[in-house]
């Protein structure tokens, strides 16, 4: 027996140990404090869905204020209490709290934890051929830190002074001085505490993902044979590992400023005519530290979605992904560039224009790898035997948003144009399309695609189609008009525009956006029904419903802890052998050796096949 065999047997017995435990495991250890990556992934998903409803609900509420500023919102008093005044008006401070919470929830809790947490956890071991994550315990901790952070953030929303209200970017001095606004008191403190646990969760998860990808690939799973999903999750985890500690540094100094009276971010501030003692700090410093995380963070959000899309589009086009190496290269290029462009969020902080032009140049370079990705998606679709599953539609929707939102990035990346457009609805439209909606569509595509593996049942396709079209059209109807509003000069985060005559011609457009937002938000309930109903009542799924090549479809319908009942499968080829000329079927799973597919092999692959025979 070779060493590799011994290692496999070791792992097997290890897996079997778990298996034996499994029978006696109580409900608590099987479903709540589980160390099984599949259960943890589902926990992340369900928590993410909860947050998505809440975050989306908040956006609908503040759209109501923006679209219909004269509306009597008295009917919301039973839910919002004192936040609605007796004359039926939304409290302006609570408006700020809502946009802050919407941003925080969507960026961190839904699109970071909900997306990476779910699919990295679920797919990394399954697609690499591992029994579980490198450390199940760290994975367990990762979820429960996230849960704790969720609880703290949730509680902060019920404070009488309101949750954090200074925007999700929590710029000081607004966030640093409790006397600045009511949300900067206890609400801000809880926000910071919650984020500390959130970062701990992300780092624990990220260390685990990277270690698993490096160490636990099955035999034959070389880096060049990894599905693009895994590449994306892997690089995402690296980005998180490098950028979240900087957010720790940033937040730590803010905590010192808030609670101990240091002056890292504060200087020469007068409140009510009286000078604060703080001298020598600089709020710009905060922005540098924050955006050093903040910019990679947007790629932490979008890269997993792009990885999922690569997989779904290739599978459902029945074609190999176009430019596999270029896809990996562009992920790496985007990841590298993401660390050296942060100052494009700060063009108007009075930075040296020469420095601004360097950051502008670096920012615009990102267009190249992004365009490579968009091009490769389209060329993969080109002349494919397209199968329009809901997952496929959402993936194509993602490509559409990525392109239309990405184009406005070229404008905003230009320092000269950004000075005009900074902090307007143009920015809101840009990032909601390219990052928000695109990543959200990636999340939905992933759920539709891997639902059969997660729960062993199928989701309803028709409801999926209705959900897709309402959401896809809805998202464009919501965010496209915001470009016009932004170019007209509407600043974001303002409570009301009725005092400015210049904006009165946009009242109808704003109402239209609000109506569209309601329809889009309403359509998500179709998904929720489809999701929760079919977990229990759905049609039982076949082993490989999408005729896919990757390893997760070689597991049983509902994989137990340990994933494969017998030996871990070996991998002999890359994951994108779809419609290979000469092959019997239009897909060849990664587990089929070359010497069994002589009819479709190239000369090189025939050579590989001969070597495989030697090995066996």
């Amino acid at each position: 027996m070779s060493i590799t065999d011994i290692q496999i047997t070791e792992k097997l017995t290890h897996g079997d140990d778990h298996h034996d435990d499994h029978q006696e495991q109580s409900f608590i250890f099987k479903y709540i404090f589980s160390t099984d990556h599949k259960t943890i992934a589902k926990q992340f998903l369900i928590t993410g869905i909860f947050w998505a409803i809440l975050g989306g609900g908040l956006s609908v509420l503040f759209r109501l204020q923006l679209g219909f500023p004269d509306m009597d919102m008295g009917f919301l008093q039973p839910f919002l209490g004192d936040w609605i005044s007796n004359s039926g008006k939304l409290d302006p401070e609570f408006y700020l709290a809502m946009i802050t919470m919407h941003g925080t929830i969507m960026v961190f809790f839904v699109l970071t934890a909900g997306l990476s947490g779910t699919f990295s956890n679920y797919l990394i071991p399954l697609q690499l051929g591992a029994r579980d994550m490198a450390s199940g315990f760290m994975n367990l901790l990762s979820y429960w830190f996230f849960f704790l952070s969720s609880i703290i953030m949730f509680i902060s929303m019920f404070l009488s002074t309101g949750p954090a209200s200074g925007g999700w970017t929590i710029y000081p001095p607004l966030s640093a001085l409790p006397q600045a606004m009511s949300g900067s008191g206890m609400g801000m403190t809880l926000w910071l505490v919650s984020m500390v646990f959130f970062i701990a969760s992300t780092l624990l998860g990220g260390i685990n993902y990277i270690t698993t990808v490096i160490n636990l690939r099955t035999e034959g799973m070389t880096f060049r044979r990894m599905p693009l999903t895994i590449w994306a999750f892997f690089i995402t985890a690296v980005l998180g590992l490098l950028s979240f500690p900087v957010l720790v540094a940033c937040v730590l100094l803010l905590v010192f400023d808030r609670s101990f009276g240091t002056s890292f971010y504060l200087s020469e501030i007068f409140i009510g005519g009286e000078a604060l003692p703080n001298l020598g700090g600089s709020p710009i410093l905060f922005q540098h530290l924050f955006w050093f995380l903040g910019h990679p963070e947007v790629y932490i959000v979008i890269l997993p979605a792009l990885g999922i899309t690569s997989e779904v589009i290739s599978t459902n086009s029945r074609k190999p992904i176009f430019g596999y190496t270029a896809m990996i290269g562009s992920i790496l290029a985007i990841a590298f560039l993401s660390f050296i462009v942060w100052a494009h969020h700060m063009f108007i902080t009075g930075m040296n224009p020469f420095l601004g032009s360097i950051f502008m140049f670096l920012t615009l370079i990102i267009a190249i790898p992004s365009a490579v990705k968009a091009f490769n998606y389209i060329t993969t679709l080109w002349k494919g035997n397209l199968v329009f599953t809901p997952a496929m539609l959402f993936s194509i929707g993602l490509v559409s948003f990525f392109i239309s939102g990405g184009l406005t990035g070229l404008f905003l990346g230009n320092a000269a144009i950004d000075i005009n457009l900074h902090d307007t609805y143009f920015v809101v439209a840009h990032f909601h399309l390219v990052m928000g909606s695109a990543a959200f569509f990636g999340l939905l595509a992933g759920v539709y695609h891997w639902f059969p593996k997660m729960f062993g049942r199928m989701m309803d396709e028709k409801l999926g189609y209705i959900h897709f079209w309402l959401t896809f059209v809805g998202v464009y109807l919501v965010f496209f008009p915001l470009h016009y509003i932004g170019i007209a000069g509407f600043p974001r985060r303002y409570y009301s525009f009725t005092n400015f005559d210049a904006f009165s011609s946009f009242v109808d457009l704003n109402s239209f956006v609000t109506v569209a937002a309601f329809i889009t938000f309403g359509a998500q309930f179709i998904f929720l029904f489809n999701f929760f109903y079919n977990i229990f009542k759905g049609k039982k799924a076949p082993i490989n419903p999408w005729n896919s090549n990757t390893l997760e479809w070689t597991t049983p319908r509902v994989p137990e802890h340990g994933n494969w009942p017998g030996e871990i499968p070996k991998v002999y080829r890359w994951p994108y052998d779809y419609s290979k000329p000469g092959a019997k079927d239009d897909f060849i799973p990664q587990t089929i050796p070359y010497h069994k597919t002589e009819e479709s092999n190239t000369d090189f692959e025939n050579e590989e096949g001969k070597k495989e025979r030697f090995d066996n």
């Binding site: 070779s2 060493i3 590799t4 290692q7 490198a134 450390s135 760290m138 780092l203 990220g206 260390i207 685990n208 990277i210 270690t211 698993t212 490096i214 160490n215 636990l216 590992l241 490098l242 950028s243 979240f244 500690p245 900087v246 720790v248 540094a249 940033c250 730590l252 100094l253 010192f256 101990f260 009276g261 240091t262 002056s263 890292f264 200087s267 001298l279 020598g280 700090g281 600089s282 710009i284 410093l285 540098h288 530290l289 050093f292 070597k611 030697f614 090995d615």
Partner: protein, 194 residues
């Protein structure tokens, strides 16, 4: 390539792969590096901004640095003793390292007192606050190192540390040396910027 050669090549490939736990530790170290890289860059950015208080670094920081280097040496001695299976020496080594580390804690505290005597406070100009943050955060990570020492001490008592089971003590040694290097970096950074 013949059959055996291929199998041989594969074996080598397998043997070379790093232990998952050790690898995770290195990733943790990378994240700590990023934390301090963020803080020290903040220091540079803030300093270039002006309104910066210049002061003398306490001599005590130099002595404490030497003491921390000494603890790294004892830690390495402990590690080599574990390789030789002399468990008694390992216990002495761990205890010694921990005591030296506690001395380092005390010396950092003395250095803070020196700073206060210079009228450099935690609350005040950021140039002073940064010194407290750097040294304080480093100590916080050193507490983690002390816990790690306690763990391998208990492991040694239970005969879980020996030449065939070097993983935990190796990881502890790596982390300890890292903390030493980290402090030397912070110290040199502060000295060169003052």
């Amino acid at each position: 390539m013949n059959n055996t050669a291929i199998i041989f090549a594969k074996r080598n490939l397998k043997l070379k792969s790093v232990n998952a736990k050790k690898f995770a530790l290195w990733l943790f170290i990378v994240s700590i590096c990023m934390l301090f890289a963020g803080l020290t860059s903040a220091y540079i950015v803030k300093k270039s901004d002006g309104r910066w208080l210049e002061f003398e670094m306490p001599d005590m920081f130099l002595y404490s640095t030497l003491v921390l280097i000494l603890s790294s040496i004892t830690m390495h001695w402990t590690y080599s003793k574990a390789k030789d299976n002399s468990l008694k020496a390992v216990k002495i080594g761990i205890t010694g390292t921990a005591i030296i580390a506690l001395a380092f804690f005390y010396m950092q505290y003395l250095a803070w007192i020196e700073l206060v005597a210079e009228d450099v406070f935690f609350v005040g100009n950021p140039s002073g606050s940064f010194v407290y943050v750097f040294s304080g955060l480093h100590l916080a990570h050193l507490i983690g190192g002390l816990v790690f020492l306690l763990v391998i001490f208990l492991d040694t008592i239970n005969y879980k540390v020996h030449s065939k089971n070097m993983l935990t003590i190796e990881m502890c040694t790596t982390y300890w040396h890292f903390l030493g290097v980290l402090w030397i970096y912070l110290y040199l950074f502060l000295v060169m910027n003052n």
